[in-house]
Symmetry: C2
Subunit: 194 residues, 2 copies
């Protein structure tokens, strides 16, 4: 497998998805966003669904790398999580969030998409759970159920995604809601006490 070509195809897929949306996306659109022919793209990915599943996997891998904790401090670790989740990608005008929402709406019909979203959900919840656990063990957070906190935070983040698309709301608004929740339930504040 030629991973450089795959990478070029997947980058072009992201651009074509933002420009045309899921329903109207064709391999031809993807070819137009790359230096490759439709035949070459078909050679690498059998179907549009296989291509989009690979595209989603690439997105999740990228976010997983961003989530990889750079700090042992549980407060900073939660702040980093919020940064990753609520900072929109550069050079993006919300189209990626819309395209992703369309793929979520297709998940009931596409097992590959659903598997992706489940894996991503578990990864996000695991990150919050781990940070909350550490904070409790360090005596920095109130004693709460880390799994409940994780599910609440991730559910609010899911809500922020749909609010951004349906209402045009800024990610920062949901970030503030999540921060208020963490402050209330954990005694969390983004800044570490000196």
């Amino acid at each position: 497998m030629d991973s450089e070509t795959d990478e070029e195809i997947l980058r072009a897929t992201g651009r074509a998805l933002c420009a045309h949306g899921f329903a109207d996306l064709t391999i031809k659109h993807i070819a137009e966003e790359s230096s490759l022919t439709t035949a070459a793209i078909h050679y690498h990915f059998d179907t549009k669904e296989a291509l989009l599943t690979a595209f989603l996997d690439r997105s999740i891998d990228r976010i997983e790398r961003q989530l990889a904790a750079e700090t042992a401090d549980p407060r900073r670790r939660l702040a980093q999580f919020l940064d990753v989740l609520f900072t929109p990608p550069e050079t993006d005008d919300g189209e990626f969030a819309v395209a992703l929402m369309e793929l979520k709406a297709q998940a009931p019909y596409q097992d590959g998409f659903r598997d992706h979203f489940e894996r991503f959900d578990q990864r996000m919840r695991q990150e919050v759970r781990a940070a909350v656990n550490e904070g409790i063990e360090a005596g920095e957070f109130a004693t709460v159920d880390p799994a409940t906190v994780a599910r609440s935070v991730v559910t609010m983040a899911n809500g922020g995604h749909v609010r951004g698309v349906a209402l045009g709301e800024e990610p920062a608004e949901t970030r503030a809601v999540v921060a208020a929740y963490l402050a209330q339930s954990l005694g969390w504040a983004p800044e570490v006490d000196a």
Copy 2:
């Protein structure tokens, strides 16, 4: 305007939307779900978008009637809100939630859809805010910012919608998350103390 015919068309729109999804929905599909011809439907609604906007308005009106508080007790009022939000419609297998998610993904391109979702969002937040306010005034809830609680609850409900579609999660799971949040922030419990 013949409101009985409108009503038949909008009911047929709901069935056709669940069966075909937004992208593939045609006036012909709606005619097939009703006793009317495509010409008759076009006579009542100029475009597919006008029809879907009317369909969304009808859905919101129905939920607003369900939300109309039947009780003066703030605890019961919040419980009623959760009942309305997290009880899936009868004779539905999740298709309506998927169709609604597709319409949300179209909101950036359809002002009529966005207006609908904004109106619905305001109505939901208003309901939670009012119930929380009453509970605080009655000395039953902790003194919190009702607007923050309302936004948190509605954001989690939005998240529950997308989780149902993308992950196949049951509405009851998000309901439990919201109930735990209300218990923690307000001292709310669904049952009124005797």
